[in-house]
């Protein structure tokens, strides 16, 4: 790691004020990605603003037809939350599949979404559920938030404080994981709200999480694994790496989508 100045504010407002003064600094949420990235010297912020004491950024509440989750809420707490398990079980399920127990005790939803790792789990749920990312400045619809590999609509010094998830009528997440890192080689989140079905894919796209519009159309017409009969997914634009090539990932997208639809219908 390169040297950095360390800041530890205790509210979101103080964190944002610190960021405004400390140029080239980064917010440190759970650190499950940022710290390894800094160790490899792929990131070299001159300051770290540790959010772990910002208690105002933690918590899960039901607000009308939305589940609102504070950005510093740990994966473990989302997975175990009675509100999330009752209203959006697919989201609790997803949180319980991230990394391993020790990682879930530390990693946060805000950190995962702000980082937008192309193999992270949460972005698929944010996009499939049509969530709203709430920052210190504004509310960003999921469709406008994810901009490509590790890129988001967040501006310099802008901080995610909460994420608001509309409650779907049916949803499920399925992932084919890397056995060592537990990152998604392919993860598919399906959600049905009213008549509209949404299908998002993480881990596979060379530009990060994306909506599979053909699969969405098929499932909007018929929300059943049979609705996908005869469909294939094109390998163009998918990742090839040591874990899986693009064609294999394309195949996995169809398998995971079918499984996810089945799981959503079983609930």
């Amino acid at each position: 790691m390169y040297q950095f100045a360390y800041h530890r504010p205790d509210t979101a407002r103080k964190a944002v004020n610190t960021a405004a003064k400390a140029e080239d600094s980064k917010f440190l949420a759970g650190g499950m990605t940022l710290l390894p990235t800094m160790k490899q010297r792929l990131a070299a912020p001159t300051g770290l603003i540790d959010l772990s004491r910002c208690d105002d950024m933690r918590g899960i509440e039901l607000k009308g037809r939305n589940v609102v989750i504070g950005a510093m809420t740990r994966h473990f707490d989302v997975a175990e939350s009675d509100i999330v398990k009752e209203k959006i079980p697919a989201l609790a399920d997803l949180a319980g599949m991230i990394g391993d127990p020790a990682v879930r005790h530390r990693g946060t939803i805000g950190g995962s979404v702000a980082n937008n790792d192309p193999a992270a789990d949460y972005p698929s749920a944010v996009l499939a559920l049509g969530a709203t990312v709430i920052t210190n400045k504004r509310k960003i619809p999921a469709d406008e938030f994810f901009k490509g590999l590790f890129e988001t609509a967040l501006e310099e010094g802008e901080l995610i404080t909460k994420i608001s998830f509309p409650i779907p009528s049916k949803a499920a997440y399925e992932k084919f994981r890397n056995p060592a890192s537990r990152y998604a080689i392919v993860g598919v989140f399906v959600a049905k709200k009213g008549k509209e079905a949404r299908v998002t894919v993480t881990g596979a796209g060379s530009g990060g999480v994306f909506r599979a519009s053909k699969l969405e159309a098929a499932l909007t017409a018929k929300f059943h694994p049979k609705g996908l009969d005869g469909l294939t997914f094109p390998a163009e634009g998918l990742n090839t790496d040591i874990h899986a090539d693009a064609e294999y990932r394309a195949h996995l997208i169809m398998v995971m989508t079918r499984r996810a639809v089945q799981k959503a219908l079983a609930k």
Binding site: M1, Q3, F4, A5, Y6, R8, L28, G31, M32, L35, P36, K39, L48, D50, S52, G99, D100, P101, A102, V103, H105, R106, A180, S181, R182
Partner: protein
């Protein structure tokens, strides 16, 4: 350099640290508690698992400064009055190790599993919960057996 203070294995400790200091470095290099190991250094292998405020975390991916004020327990803090913790004893009894490098992390994770899941653990639960701890010597059979036995020995009635 900023000062960090915390409680480690029941003792208050403090030191001036470079902000880059990871909790595991603070434990091993500053406090000389070398029972906590560094395997992969990328939060995958679990050799560095310690308890921070009672919860299992990977100390290679946590800044010492973030743990300021925390109550930290390492493998050295489990035994009491020269008597092994029931989970340590179970690893010994069941030969739940070969080279032993992953063992401290395995045991700290195992104690955390019991905290969350209770003392009656089936094989499937143990194997699933161990997904963040990697042993490179051999299979996990004896580790799984040791955790089931250690969990049972930790049940309040058995104490």
């Amino acid at each position: 350099m900023p000062k960090v203070s915390m409680t480690v294995n029941g003792k208050p400790v403090s030191a001036d640290v470079d902000p880059r200091t990871l909790l595991v470095q603070f434990l091993r290099e500053t406090l000389r508690l070398t029972g906590t190991h560094v395997g992969c250094d990328t939060s995958q292998c679990g050799c560095c698992v310690v308890h921070v405020n009672g919860v299992a975390m990977k100390s290679c991916t946590l800044l010492a400064l973030t743990a300021d004020g925390a109550d930290v327990v390492t493998i050295e803090g489990l035994a009491t009055d020269g008597k092994l913790h029931p989970m340590q004893e179970a690893f010994r009894e069941n030969h739940g190790l070969q080279c032993g490098f992953c063992t401290p992390g395995m045991i700290m994770s195992a104690v955390d599993i019991v905290r969350r899941k209770g003392s009656e653990l089936d094989e499937k639960t143990i194997r699933h919960e161990l997904e963040g701890n990697i042993c490179r010597c051999t299979g996990y059979h004896n580790i799984v057996k040791a955790i089931a036995a250690g969990a049972a020995a930790m049940a309040p009635a058995a104490e």
